[in-house]
């Protein structure tokens, strides 16, 4: 039994969150029930999802809500949201370069928009606008390219001039003699930031209400297969039978790899090789000040992006580290480069202080696009290779993976992202003009 399995009604459904509820609890000093239950691990499930981040939890949530598949366990080796979901800079947008990318992320944005009501938890989606600055003719050309592809799919996205940039973000230095002059920007009003932990907890709570089990501190040590060409029946031609964890073996006909950072290692357990290298993406946050930065600002060529939370902290991110590794300690070089670039864009913030830095692991693929769906091992599915944009894609990935599992067919929205494309050489076009765009 868990520590505090309190406050549930006979239907097992806890009360909804609401201001009224808060008020009542405030008066009575009553307690809220557990956000998700703490139940014993079973011996078998219909679906096992490896990775308790936004992707894994969303997949579980939509399996339960859209397809009625509830005998599902989400396993995480640490705590829910301990990976990329809790380490990203919580930026969401849909202004990608390729039609397939745009359609995909636009659906994600749509789900984020309705999330607070769907999940009955305030995920604090702040649709504040997203600016990608251009410091050169060629960058500006790429911005136009993105804007035009976006417009053709009714995405609110356009290129604006330096003066318009200044009107939206007064703290930016638009003087033409700057080292990296701002020559314009791709403006995407629907982009914004969101409380990433709330998204994790919301999906976990929603999935829990429908019977899905969340198991933290449950590490997958091996994936059990049979019939495959590789050792222990792993690899192409085989099928998955379950997983081995630090808490024992669990059987399941379907195992989904929703991890980031360890994606290629987990897939290796099933004998499936992935076109992935793992590199840390660093982030940092300053001390809070009164709010002055109204939009999300990205500079691709300077490899920096920044937004200001409602608490007044500036949140920064950059490009992935220049070499593969699994180390999530921040580096000093990152904060130095970051500060230098930020001060070139906003000289006024030199007196703000960096409070904390951290890193998350990103699984980079050759074409800056994910790997989703079926693998050569029957019953083993992947939702991996999310590079630096996994959080943005969480909801739609969950929805599509759930459909993929439930219908045993690849949904249209993710047709562009199969593992097989790396064997046929038909890479996704995001590689076409791969600038960092967060």
């Amino acid at each position: 039994m868990g520590l505090f399995n309190l406050g549930r009604g006979s239907d097992g459904r806890p009360p909804k969150y609401s201001a009224a509820g808060l008020f009542a609890k405030g008066l009575t000093g009553g307690e809220w029930p557990r956000v998700w239950r703490d139940v014993p691990l079973k011996k078998s499930y219909d679906v096992i999802i490896i990775g308790g981040g936004v992707h894994g939890l969303a997949t579980a949530y939509y399996l339960a809500t859209n397809h009625g598949i509830t005998n599902v366990a989400v396993l995480d080796k640490a705590y829910l949201g301990s990976g990329g979901s809790g380490r990203n800079t919580a930026i969401v947008r849909s202004n990608y370069l390729t039609p397939e990318g745009v359609a995909f992320y636009d659906r994600s944005l749509e789900l984020y928009n309705g999330m607070t009501e769907d999940l009955n938890i305030n995920v604090m989606f702040s649709e504040r606008g997203h600016l990608t600055l251009a410091h050169s003719d060629s960058a500006l050309r790429t911005m136009h390219w993105r804007a035009e592809v976006n417009k053709l799919q009714n995405i609110d996205s356009s290129v604006i001039d330096p003066q318009q940039v200044k009107e939206i973000v007064p703290s930016l230095d638009i003087s033409p003699d700057a080292h990296h002059p701002i020559m314009g920007a791709l403006y995407h009003p629907p982009g914004g930031i969101i409380r990433h932990d709330a998204v994790v907890w919301g999906y976990a709570r929603g999935a829990d209400h429908r019977g899905v089990e969340m198991h933290q501190k449950t590490e997958v040590l091996d994936i059990l297969c049979e019939g495959g060409e590789g050792p222990d029946g792993k690899g192409a031609g085989g099928k998955v039978t379950g997983v081995r964890t630090n808490r024992g073996d669990i059987s399941a006909p379907v195992v989904v790899n929703c991890t980031a950072g360890w994606a290629s290692l987990i897939s290796d357990m099933a004998g499936v090789r992935l076109p992935i290298t793992t590199q840390p993406l660093q982030a940092a946050v300053t001390e809070p000040t009164k709010v002055f930065l109204p939009a999300v600002v990205v500079s691709g060529s300077l490899h920096v992006y920044v937004s200001q939370t409602d608490r007044g902290e500036l949140v920064f991110g950059a490009a992935v580290d220049p070499f593969t590794n699994y180390n999530v300690r921040g580096s000093l070089d990152f904060t130095e480069g970051l500060a230098g670039h930020i001060l070139e864009l906003m000289p006024g913030v030199s007196r703000m202080r960096l409070l904390r830095q951290w890193a998350g692991l990103c699984d980079m693929t050759p074409d800056y696009s994910p790997v989703m769906g079926f693998t050569p091992v029957e019953g083993f599915l992947v939702d991996v290779g999310w590079g630096t944009y996994g959080f943005k894609a969480g909801p739609v990935s969950g929805e599509q993976m759930a459909e993929c599992i439930a219908t045993n067919q690849t949904p249209k929205l993710i047709e562009a992202f199969p593992l097989s494309r790396f064997a046929t050489g038909e890479l996704v076009g995001e590689k076409g003009a791969a600038a960092v765009g967060h």
């Binding site: 405030g26 000093g29 136009h144 001060l343 703000m352 202080r353 960096l354």
Partner: protein
């Protein structure tokens, strides 16, 4: 009355009463002394409330009165979030409270205090949800609660600086142990950097007994004498891989902040201990202070923290505080000894100040000052960053390091407890050990480093740690009092306004691991980053879960140890900047510059169209020095060219020039350019300007890793030569006046080169190529003479109507000729054959980079790939902006895009290059374009040749 709370002279005060300083607080004029911190000056002036808390806007006074004080954040002029407990007072500064509205004394948002019971931790996740449309409004309101000061975006940037350092031993912390370690290490021959967070060496000795203060002085002097580099008011903010140490120096004469990046052979962590607040009802009321705060204020600054004190003591520091108060003439109403089981229940009082203290035995004592000495937190950040996970020790009620780390040693309070002498002795032993180990590392580094002085003797053995460990004094485990039934909150995190009840409630909701609890409640996320809050948070969670602190475990301390300003991190910003030998001339002749990578070069000189016309009619010259140039020497150069380019090179004769296209092994176009055969085993390769560095590394990679047996020397000569393109029908006439090289078309045909003297300069290279489509000579002259040749060309060409032209004119002319630019007309997926250069791809070569993919593509799926084609709009006056999308007529289905477009001054119509689906690539195909920005749709046609102008190339062959 000025400085109403300034005590009479204290024996070891650090203020200079002879040098008063004026400053303003909240608009009022006040006076302090040199040596005061802002905090001590405010306290000396009777200021009790310095800030309002974040959520409930409760009035707050000093609790630690040092760098970490959660209540001591103030605005100083343009600078937000100044730590008033640390920042020294300076003359004329304007100090203001933060997070108050409309005023410190009357704060409207304090109303939150009344509804506080409804603002449980994480409340905002549970409300403001309906209607969703209103969230933006809620958000605006919430954001006005943002704590912290105001950024003055207009204020001029301060001076910041950086330096590297390579000390043998770097000591973090200048208390007794740290100083002793630094001295011993230096005396053992190590180069030592000693970094002290406070304004003076000594640590807790500074506000201690006569003997303490005396020892601090002796050690400081000894450190000086031993040649230790001492940095005060500086903080070791991070320990990164391979002992890469970040030190923030706030005491540099020329820089507000300076970041020192030190590669220390051994790091000694002597950070001391941080006094831990005690969690009990009303523990945030002004007048509740930790013993360290009181001792600093009284002993260092002679500032009176209150009139009538109650001291809650669990250790010697608490006891010493009693003595200090009595000496200073402050009434001590009661001393409560936690060691004998006594306990606090609640600090009562009005909103502005504590008035009475209630104890577990039910007794109550009136007081306006409650001194709390409840124990210590070990600031193990630097050890965490080095990979250690400190462990909790029940009997001492604090964490201690767990693992020994080879090059990170610990001493002082972090390592254990002891008398002054024991601490100093442990410090000395640590310093000696550090020096020994540093010597071994230094020996190895020197032996491994190619340019280092030869190192003699064997490497010193790695010294074992034979230090006598410090003891661990028992200490009562005081984390939270049993404040049951009390009305006022017991705060765990002051800066985040988180009470123990908030934490318990969150844990019961399932946020019951330290990390989840932190994220859900934001406890420990504030400016002190958990230095005051973490252990108490863990303790409250442990209680709630019925587990021990050890079982719950602590969280990872992340860098930096203390916040660093963005300016300090940026330091002096370097932006390498490249110019050609002719740069000065361009600037003084009306250049409109363009930044191309690191290069600054002329985009044009006023009228690019005129520059085009003049070049097509007379003669023009352009400075193309940024063009990448690689000198290739050796017998195997032809093999190399055959490998890197898709076409064949074996038969290129001496004085021949050939164009080539380079792919990566995935068949994607990487770079292009012409290469000339200068002489036996000697070639000059040109690359795109932006690709120069990449291609050089690329070639070295193939030579060093894949073809190590080939004999080729590659030398980057991009700026060894000034490159000038002389183009136009009159270029031959012009060159004839500058060189005796035979320019007759028969003698010097298209796509050949000559070497000789130009304008009196020897060793010039001259080749006939035509990126612009005109008869043109590309000159490569020794850079030191580039300006001379350019100026001679301009003089000599005057009567031929010579004019310089810039990048823009060149871009127009190359587009008129249909030459593509790698990276603009091609992208990260463009396979070589789709650029219209299929004839240049020789699949019958044994091997070349990209061959496999290109062979498969050309055999199987060429018709699935987009093609690069020349495009002309039906309406010649329309210039579709680059990136204009090409769609299936009447739909939004994207079939391609315009990659280059210009109005052609030569043809008086717009000309384009674009990528289109192969199905649309046939000459004559009509395309539909969606114009930028208005989305208007117009038609265009795919042309037969890439060249819009002179497709047969008669002009350039002239």
């Amino acid at each position: 009355m000025a400085q109403s709370n300034r005590l009479p002279q204290q024996p070891h005060e650090v203020i200079d009463r002879g040098s008063p300083l004026n400053f303003t607080w909240n608009g009022k004029n006040l006076t302090g002394f040199t040596g005061d911190t802002i905090a001590s000056a405010l306290v000396a002036n009777g200021v009790e409330v310095v800030s309002r808390s974040m959520k409930y806007h409760r009035p707050r006074g000093y609790i630690t009165a040092d760098f970490w004080d959660p209540n001591g954040f103030v605005q100083v002029g343009p600078e937000p979030n100044v730590r008033s407990g640390h920042r020294e007072l300076s003359s004329g500064i304007a100090v203001d409270p933060q997070n108050v509205w409309p005023s410190l004394d009357y704060d409207v948002k304090a109303a939150n205090g009344l509804v506080g019971r409804f603002l449980s931790a994480g409340f905002y996740y549970k409300t403001f949800m309906k209607p969703a449309s209103l969230w933006p409004a809620f958000e605006k309101v919430l954001s006005t609660f943002a704590p912290g000061g105001t950024v003055d975006l207009e204020a001029p940037k301060d001076e910041f600086d950086k330096r590297y350092a390579h000390p043998d031993v770097l000591v973090a912390g200048g208390g007794p142990a740290g100083m002793a370690a630094a001295i011993a290490a230096a005396e053992s021959g190590a180069s030592v950097m000693l970094v002290e967070h406070e304004h003076r060496l000594g640590g807790h000795l500074c506000w201690g007994s006569d003997a303490d203060v005396a020892l601090a002085g002796e050690l400081a002097a000894a450190a000086e004498a031993a040649g230790v580099e001492v940095l005060v008011n500086s903080t070791v903010t991070g320990r990164y891989e391979d002992n890469w140490i970040a030190v923030t120096q706030r005491s540099h004469p020329l820089a507000t902040e300076r970041l020192i990046k030190a590669r220390a052979k051994v790091l000694v962590v002597a950070a001391g201990l941080i006094e831990r607040p005690y969690v009990f009802a009303g523990n945030d009321k002004p007048g509740v202070m930790l013993s360290g705060a009181v001792r600093r204020l009284v002993n260092l600054y002679a500032a009176k923290p209150g009139e009538r004190a109650v001291v809650f003591s669990a250790n010697a520091d608490g006891d010493a505080t009693v003595a200090d108060l009595e000496r200073a003439g402050i009434e001590v109403a009661s001393v409560v000894d936690a060691r004998s089981g006594a306990n606090l229940i609640e600090a009562h009082g009005g909103s502005k100040r504590v008035s009475s203290i209630e104890f577990a035995d039910g007794s109550k004592v009136d007081a306006d000052l409650l001194v709390v000495a409840a124990g210590w937190t070990a600031p193990t950040s630097l050890l965490n960053m080095a990979g250690d996970r400190p462990v909790y020790d029940e009997s001492s009620a604090r964490f201690f390091p767990q693992h020994a780390i080879d090059n990170v040693l610990t001493t002082g309070g972090l390592a254990g407890d002891g008398t002054r002498d024991e601490l100093v002795e442990h410090g000395r032993a640590t310093g000696r050990l550090a020096a020994e180990r540093a010597a071994a590392v230094r020996h190895r580094l020197q032996a491994f480093t190619v340019q280092a002085a030869p190192v003699d003797g064997d490497e010193p053995a790695w010294a074992d740690d034979a230090r006598t460990p410090l003891g661990r004094d028992p200490h009562p485990a005081l984390f939270q009092s049993t404040s049951t039934g009390t009305k006022s909150k017991a705060f765990v995190d002051f800066s985040e306004d988180i009470s123990n009840k908030d934490l318990v409630a969150a844990a019961k909701e399932g946020y019951d691991s330290v990390e989840l609890l932190k994220r859900y409640t934001t406890a420990t996320m504030g400016p002190a980053q958990g230095k005051l809050e973490t252990v108490n948070t863990v303790a409250v969670l442990a209680d709630a879960r019925g587990e021990t602190i050890e079982e719950v475990g602590t969280t990872v301390w992340r860098p930096p140890y203390a916040p660093i300003s963005l300016g300090g991190l940026a330091g002096r910003i370097f932006n390498p900047h490249r110019v050609s030998a002719i740069h000065e001339w361009h600037t003084s002749n009306g250049m409109v510059p363009i930044q191309a990578g690191a290069w600054e070069r002329p985009d044009h000189y006023g009228d690019p169209a005129a520059e085009v016309r003049n070049t097509r009619e007379n003669v023009g010259i352009i400075d193309v020095s940024p063009l990448g140039k690689l000198d290739l020497r050796g017998p195997d150069v032809p093999k190399l060219l055959n490998l890197l380019y898709t076409n064949k090179w074996s038969k290129l004769p001496i004085e021949g020039v050939r164009y080539g296209i380079m792919c990566a092994d995935d068949g994607v176009v990487m770079d292009d350019g012409v290469t000339g055969h200068l002489g036996e085993n000697h070639y000059l390769m040109t690359t795109t300007s932006s690709g120069a560095a990449r291609v050089w590394e690329w070639i070295e990679n193939w030579l060093q890793t894949e073809r190590p047996d080939w004999q080729v020397h590659v030398t980057p000569v991009t700026t060894a030569y000034t490159s000038i393109n002389v183009a136009g029908p009159k270029s031959r006439e012009l060159m004839a006046q500058l060189t005796d090289i035979d320019l007759d078309p028969e003698a010097f045909p298209y796509m050949t080169l000559r070497q000789g003297t130009i304008a009196g300069i020897d060793d010039c290279i001259m080749w006939r190529i035509g990126f612009t489509g005109e008869l043109s000579y590309e000159l490569h002259v020794p850079a030191g003479h580039g300006l001379h040749v350019w100026e001679t060309l301009m003089e000599t060409g005057a009567d031929l109507g010579i004019k310089p032209f810039g990048l823009e004119a060149q871009r127009i002319m190359r587009l008129e000729k249909g030459h593509f630019i790698v990276g603009q007309d091609t992208d990260g997926l463009t396979l070589a054959p789709t650029t219209g250069l299929e004839p240049l791809i020789k699949l019958d070569k044994d091997d070349f980079v990209g061959k496999a993919e290109l062979a498969w593509a050309m055999n199987d799926r060429l018709d699935e790939l987009p093609r690069l084609v020349a495009i002309q709009t039906t309406d010649p006056t329309i210039v579709p902006m680059e990136a204009t999308q090409i769609v299936r007529a009447g739909t939004t289905e994207i079939l391609g895009r315009i990659t280059s477009s210009r109005m052609s001054p030569t043809l008086n119509r717009s000309v384009c290059l674009g990528q289109v689906a192969s199905a649309m690539a046939a000459p004559g195909t009509e395309l539909e374009l969606v114009l930028i920005p208005d989305g208007r749709r117009v038609t265009a046609t795919v042309m037969e040749h890439h060249a819009h102008f002179d497709p047969e190339g008669e002009r350039l062959r002239a």
